[in-house]
Symmetry: C2
Subunit: 328 residues, 2 copies
């Protein structure tokens, strides 16, 4: 069964396509009689306007791209979900792409999205493709960096205060008399990893402790790299007694690693940047820096609406405050 077009409706209702269009969009003048008659035809044939044709004519795709490094990470999905709801309300659709932290895939994704003529782009990037992202912004597409920023790029950002939160994580461990703290971080290309590292170092130095490379493990924000970190730390002569893990997935890996090595999970004090769903059930020594992906999503949503409405405003950089929830 082939879809009806506005012409078919016009013929059926005995009016011009212009009138149908006016009825559909509640624009211009249409007499009440004709309006009802047209609506009747639309209802009867279940006519739906072709959004693609409309987009072409109006030069508005009514779509927004969102590029995330990991669609299975609840943190990112909670951000995405909130934004999805907002977009749906606006009649926009979201084009999701999962890059799996792969810069090349990200590059392709960005190209794909610009061909699809998204009006805005929300990006939690790999840290590469700076020029491309800047070019996208320059071409008039609204870019909002989520969670991760680029230094020196004049783009909207909605991020969290990683330095402050990481510093307080370290302070928390120091208060518990730990001095040998293993730090598991993400890739240096990613701003959150750099900032979390920086915060941790500040925390240590303020307590008069010199950070050593031996206790810094550079992972890649995956579960597997959390496991590897534990394998690495466990074979050091002077093992850490506490761990600061820079994201939720790696923290999960930490516990999997401990389990693999037969080390009691509660024997190690852990602070995780980012919540683990089950941490409230967990009686191990796990403290969590609670992020607020929903608020992040809402903040992005608000900004997005502003940008799509063309409400001129200078570059926005919003920073949310995570807070530490100590272990019980």
């Amino acid at each position: 069964m082939v879809k009806m077009t506005i012409k078919d409706v016009a013929k059926e209702a005995g009016v011009s396509t212009a009138t149908i269009s006016r009825v559909m969009n509640n624009s211009g003048y249409v007499s009440e009689d004709i309006k009802q008659q047209v609506l009747e035809v639309i209802r009867k044939f279940n006519y739906q306007p072709n959004a693609i044709a409309r987009s072409l004519k109006q030069e508005k795709s009514r779509s927004v791209g969102i590029v995330l490094p990991d669609m299975a990470n609840p943190y990112f999905m909670k951000i995405a979900r909130t934004i999805q709801h907002r977009c749906f309300q606006l009649g926009y659709h979201l084009l999701f792409i999962d890059t799996e932290e792969n810069p090349e895939k990200e590059r392709e994704a960005l190209e794909f999205l610009t061909e699809k003529r998204v009006e805005a782009l929300i990006l939690a990037g790999t840290g590469e493709n700076r020029d491309q992202i800047q070019a996208i912004s320059d071409s008039g597409i609204h870019v909002i960096l989520a969670d991760r920023r680029f230094s020196n790029l004049k783009l909207d950002t909605v991020t969290e205060d990683n330095i402050y939160a990481s510093k307080s994580a370290i302070e928390h461990l120091l208060e518990k008399k730990h001095t040998r703290i293993g730090i598991i971080n993400g890739p240096k290309t990613i701003s959150t990893a750099r900032e979390r590292r920086q915060g941790a170092i500040i925390g240590l130095e303020e307590a008069g402790i010199t950070p050593t490379n031996e206790f810094m493990f550079e992972g890649d924000y995956t579960r597997e790299s959390g496991i590897e970190a534990i394998r690495y730390f466990s074979q050091l002569p002077d093992r850490p007694t506490a761990i600061f893990s820079a994201n939720n997935e790696m923290t999960f890996g930490v516990y999997l690693g401990l389990q693999e090595l037969g080390i009691p999970l509660e024997s190690i004090e852990v602070v995780s940047f980012g919540n683990l769903e089950f941490s409230s059930l967990f009686h191990h020594n796990l403290s969590v820096i609670m992020q607020n992906p929903q608020e992040l999503g809402e903040t992005i949503g608000d900004l997005l609406i502003k940008r799509l409405n063309g409400e001129a405003d200078s570059v926005q950089n919003r920073i949310l405050m995570p807070h530490l929830v100590p272990s019980k």
Copy 2:
């Protein structure tokens, strides 16, 4: 900065738009000289064809809709992620919508997606909107039901054997000498809930036990309803000693509920339909019916490609086999 069109490229390269189109699509005849010249212009101005115009002309949106009840549930997101990768490879984009199990929202979502002219629709539905879904299929959009089916609708489905798996869950608990088994299920409107119930009942009856309504709690697949189920069961005179929970979120709620009531988590034997990420770290009496969302996604992806390529085939109903992983 305004985007370049094919006409600009044509003018710049001194040829017709048709030639540009032929170069872009590797179709028809173009001399090597001109081809190189055109490619040079394209590169120089970073020309990107407008996918919307192309869609309109070709009457192909190159998009697929996916409607899920819960974007934050890892089970659904793993399905979605797999499909997203497939679609991206094909040059298709996915329009995601999260209905939050709300039938009205689902109705709107389906309407939205048909206006956007998706070529296919992947749906894990609320169980309502049957007519609308059938109409979508009749109108020539490929519909694939994921995880949840509709009886009597002639549509492709990729689901799991809920009856078999639930039966084996009950058998597992019976083997462990539990006879008072609390069953926490989803809404009866959803096929998975009906089937999981049916499987559980078969399991009980085959063991000569008469299922009682007292031990059946109808939740709504949310965490909160798992908590409520525990509150309900805990005030029964003869409490269940074991729980069969029909999805991962409700199982989570079970533990939250036990914790809330101060009941030791390991004092209750639980079987969960669907994995909890952390179950391997968990030393409680938790057995899991392992689903395989990735395989589900791949199966859907394969089917999707077939359908999009128009490879004629009768209605497909694929059923995957989950398996029980007993508690340690």
